[in-house]
Symmetry: C2
């Protein structure tokens, strides 16, 4: 089971695009911690992911969004700074091997400042998408798309319960 | 050498995000065929991809955008319809193996109607990103992101000439 968790997202287009991506890649659950944008406006960008967004679970803390999960994965554009254990990271294709039958949560940060160190410390693993060393900072929804694509490849195209059909 | 070619893109956010993705994944060239949106507005969404967008080459036909290329790759959300040879497709990870030292162009279609059959016929290969059988249609810039990420993985993180440093 895969849950996408957005922490305080600021852009309605990103939230809408992410709902669409959840449908494209058969993600079961979308949780949003303290949305900082208008979720109704986000619907405009969600295309056939509207139902995903309408059934998204809005919570007020990251703890609440994660407490029933087996495996918690944070994401960051900053990885493997020398001597900083917190920044040890895994790649999307490594993480995709870990999903299996677990209840897995993928935590994505704010457009402006990402996740705090404390938020990253609440998770088991940090995932970093390798990219241009000079500019590895992807836009939020594009980072979500790449991670979901990579996990979908491994989970395969087998049908499973989706948010929409619950 | 990798060139991203957008055919008549309609959304400024998509064009802006794609310029940013070109910088994230070290794409050398961005060509835009008959833009249907305001490229100045697109700058707002391009973050540190602004220079990529400013040096984008605007042309008036797909032919012009492709004539000096070794390998032309179209993209579509529709793939492998039975009995339709045109729709035989390759996956992003298969295509990534073909780039090597070639001058390669990746052609992406309109948000509303994708690429025409004639446009697909002008290319050597069609690429399809596998996704939910019931809804494999990604938003334009998210499709671009996934293809560029997959090719970047294969090309590796070796420095090379980018649009910006020309
Ligand atoms: N290369 C990358 N790998 C993994 N996640 C990434 C990423 N680029 C962006 N993201 C995701 O997109 C979110 C917004 S980008 C945050 C950028 C912010 N300027 C900062 O200082 O961190 C991040 O929190 C992360 O969830
Ligand atoms: N994208 C991100 N993901 C995770 N932690 C981040 C982050 N961006 C900043 N931080 C961490 O958040 C902590 C304090 S908040 C950010 C302070 C400062 N702007 C900075 O970027 O360093 C810092 O220790 C920093 O390492
Ligand atoms: N699954 C997928 N594989 C490859 N490219 C895709 C894709 N989903 C979207 N795209 C790209 O995004 C563009 C816009 S999507 C076009 C959708 C349109 N309704 C149609 O009928 O085709 C497409 O032209 C293609 O370049």
């Amino acid at each position: 089971m895969l849950r996408v968790i957005l922490v305080e997202p600021e852009g309605e287009y990103n939230v809408g695009f992410i709902a669409r991506l959840c449908r494209n890649f058969e993600v079961e659950e979308l949780y949003i911690v303290n949305p900082r944008c208008d979720l109704n406006k986000a619907l405009e960008f969600s295309a056939k992911g509207q139902d995903v967004l309408k059934s998204a679970v809005v919570v007020s803390s990251l703890y609440e969004a994660m407490r029933d999960l087996d495996l918690k994965i944070s994401t960051s554009s900053i990885a493997d700074s020398k001597g900083d254990m917190l920044r040890k990271s895994m790649s999307p294709w490594e993480v995709s091997q870990l999903v299996g039958d677990r209840k897995v949560g993928l935590v994505f940060g704010r457009e402006s400042v990402g996740l705090t160190r404390d938020e990253i410390l609440m998770t088991d693993i940090m995932l970093h998408i390798p990219a241009n060393k000079e500019y590895p900072v992807l836009n939020l929804s594009h980072a979500v798309g790449i991670v979901l694509y990579e996990i979908w490849k491994t989970r395969g195209a087998t049908p499973r319960k989706s948010v929409v059909s619950r």
